[in-house]
């Protein structure tokens, strides 16, 4: 059992080493197969572990003692429990499909082997993050995925813009990581351990809303803000679209951005004791969700829309966490992983078909030409909007019910955010696949369905999207088939009992309201973009809210004004004033003083005998004068 546990993270690391070192000399197909195997095998191993996992208690595999100081000991160890098993299957499962898809998508790229090396390293880091049994192993993985995202976003680094996007992601993640690190230090100080199980066991010694817990959980949440792209650290995620599309799918759907959600669920023992932090998380999540959805309304880049959609959906997950519905959040992580991966890979397929075109204004009418992509994309769109009985509907509905229990106003705003989701997703769907083709003649001839290595992952993901809801069906469908995920996860929660469900009638009314809103929105968007064939307007011609949305609510400009420019100005001040006058003054002043002394001394060596004699005579004269005075 333990050997299998070690094998799961080691294989992708091995894949990274093989692809990275020998990849340039191996044929592309072999590199692709090796990289794929190194993720597929861990997936099947995870499933094997899942099937054979018996007890409610976690299995710990201690590789070695990392370091020990006095009584404080940190093991390099893995913890396999209900939560990590679910995450492992999502990460390796979706990761495998994305690896498979990448063989087709990256086939003509020069950096083929490098790409797969990075992907493997990414999977390795993510597995460390979710398998580690303490906060420090989690932190290694946390930094690892941040670093790999930098490599992958900036994969086409010869384009300057892409390089900047990678750097932005890296820096923003670092800001969050600092928060996470401080949080971990606080936990280590107050709990005397960084082991998840120890902290959960000792959490009971604190009272609810203890200041220490509030501060520590807030710092941990800052880390989650960075990784999971919440206000104010979300702007890197839309820019991360600079990377190849499979990377966007991997980062967005299954792995890196869900790390924040995972962190909060993993630390549920302390979060549940800090209701203040939970409220804070809920409002941040809500604000992020609405803002990102608003920006998504008028984006024209197909991947940008999906990126803002991810930010918005992550916001929803945090709203669920804030309401204390940890399982619901994880459920949404899971279903979102299915349909968002599908959306991104579908978008990649569209871009592939269009020969690199990403702007929806030049697409349209692709429904007939790339049918597999269209049908799978349609399923994913319906799922993200919450159309029953697709996976997204169940998870989103659960979030709404959980919020209804907590706060009616937040419920209303969350529903509003969900409605915005429908608007931009249907707009995306209609602009891309319906109406007339708006691209060039050349593109029209080029359009073709992707190879099967790309469409098979789409189909698998579509199947998962359709049936994913079965993981956690609502409780009213019957005791035997519903709430599977909640029952499964129950052992990892500390001091939380299954919360009270609202009456059946209330749930039905909430569901009806949600569906009504979705139907209404879908009809309106259909009317605008399909019946009336509205074309997207050029950004410069927009006015009011549309322009604000298209310009990403001017948040990047705001950050530039408030943070970037002052820092640059400070840098310029130090460069032009402090360095030029003070530092250079000291350094060059010393040099000039030595030079001055030298040029003075040089005068006594000018070779003129008269001067020598004069100097000598004057010297003697002065000596005599001094001697006269002294005597």
């Amino acid at each position: 059992m333990e050997n299998i546990i070690y094998l799961i993270p080691i294989l992708p690391l091995l894949g990274f080493a093989i692809c990275g070192i020998f990849g340039s000399k191996l044929p592309k197909n072999i590199v692709g197969v090796i990289a794929n195997l190194m993720v597929w095998v861990p997936f099947f191993l995870s499933v094997y572990l899942f099937i054979n996992f018996t007890g409610p208690a976690p299995i710990k595999a201690e590789a070695f003692t990392w370091f020990a100081v006095d009584n404080f000991k940190v093991n390099f160890s893995f913890q396999i429990d209900q939560l990590s098993l679910v995450m492992m299957m999502i990460v390796t499962g979706i990761g495998s499909l994305i690896h498979l898809y990448s063989i087709g998508y990256m086939h003509d790229d020069k950096g083929f082997y490098k790409f797969f090396a990075y992907l493997n390293l990414f999977i390795f880091s993510m597995l460390l993050l979710i398998m580690g049994s303490n906060f420090l192993i989690l932190f290694i993985g946390w930094e690892g995925v941040g670093f790999c995202s930098y490599l992958l976003i900036g994969f086409w680094f010869k384009n300057k813009e892409y390089g900047y996007a990678a750097r932005k992601a890296f820096v923003m993640n670092r800001i969050g990581d600092l928060g996470l690190l401080i949080g971990i230090f606080m936990l280590a100080y107050y709990f005397g351990s960084v082991e998840f199980t120890d902290i959960a066991a000792k959490a009971g010694m604190f009272k609810s809303n203890d200041t220490v817990l509030i501060v520590a959980t807030l710092f941990l949440f800052i880390g989650a803000m960075g990784k999971s792209a919440q206000i104010p650290l979300y702007t890197w995620l839309p820019d991360a679209m600079a990377g190849p599309t499979p990377v966007s799918a991997l980062i967005h759907a299954a792995t890196m951005v869900t790390a924040g959600i995972y962190l909060v669920i993993r630390s549920n023992a302390i979060y549940s004791l800090a209701p203040f932090t939970l409220d804070f998380i809920m409002y941040i999540g809500l604000a992020t969700s609405i803002l990102a959805a608003f920006i998504g309304l008028r984006q024209n880049d197909i991947k940008k829309v999906l990126a803002y959609s991810t930010v918005s959906q992550l916001g929803l997950m945090f709203v669920a966490l804030g309401a204390g519905a940890y399982t619901t959040a994880l459920f949404h992580v899971t279903t979102h992983a299915f349909f968002k991966a599908l959306l991104f890979l579908g978008a990649g397929s569209v871009i592939h078909a269009m020969g690199g075109e990403q702007d929806m204004r030049y697409m349209g009418g692709l429904k007939k030409k790339i049918p597999v992509t269209y049908w799978t994309f349609l399923i994913a769109t319906l799922a993200i909007c919450g159309v029953p009985p697709l996976a997204g509907m169940f998870s989103k509905d659960e979030i709404l019910v959980a919020i209804w229990q907590k706060d009616k106003l937040v419920w209303g705003l969350t529903l509003f955010s969900a409605a915005l989701t429908c608007i931009y997703m249907f707009r995306l769907l209609f602009l891309t696949f319906f109406g007339d083709f708006r691209g060039t003649e050349e593109q029209k001839k080029h359009v073709h369905e992707s190879p099967s290595v790309m469409t098979i992952p789409l189909i698998i993901l579509a199947i998962l999207t359709v049936f994913g809801g079965a993981l956690n069906l609502p409780h009213y469908l019957g005791e035997n088939i519903s709430q599977k995920l909640a029952h499964w996860l129950q052992p990892i929660y500390v001091g939380i009992h299954a919360h009270e469900e609202p009456p059946f009638s209330t749930e039905m009314i909430l569901l009806a309201v949600t569906l009504l809103v979705i139907a209404l929105v879908a009809a309106l968007v259909y009317n605008k973009y399909v019946v009336k064939k509205a074309q997207p307007v050029i950004v410069e011609n927009m006015t009011g809210w549309e322009k604000a949305s298209a310009k990403a609510a001017y948040v990047n400009e705001l950050y530039n004004e408030v943070i970037v420019n002052p820092v640059l100005a400070l840098g310029r001040f130090f460069k032009n004033i402090v360095d030029k006058y003070i530092i250079n003054g000291i350094v060059e002043g010393t040099a000039r003083a030595v030079q001055g002394c030298g040029s003075l001394l040089r005068m006594v060596q000018n070779g003129n005998v008269e001067y020598y004699v004069l100097a000598m005579s004057l010297g003697i004269f002065i000596l005599l004068l001094v001697a006269g005075y002294l005597s």
């Binding site: 070779g607 003129n608 005998v609 008269e610 004699v613 005579s617």
Partner: protein, 107 residues
Amino acid sequence: MVNSLLQSIPIDYFIYLSTLLFCIGVTGVLVRRNAIIILGCVELMLNSVNLLLAAFSAYKGDADGQILVFFIMVVAAAEVAVGLAIITMLYRNTRSVDVSLFNRLKG
């Protein structure tokens, strides 16, 4: 006694005279360009010192000062011999004994 005859002249006169001679010598070295003249002026300075030494020797009534005078004369003669030889060589090379032309010897 020769000594008493000399001692009847106040020593101040000797000091003033030799100081005057020394200053004329220094001035000559400082202002003249001709190497021969400069050597002569150096000679003048040396002799002013010799005069002073001889005077002190006479006043004290011992021979120490006079012995020093002989040393100075020997050293000065040797010096001048070398100096004149150098000046001769310089003259052969430059057709001049102007010391301001000799600044090529600077370090």
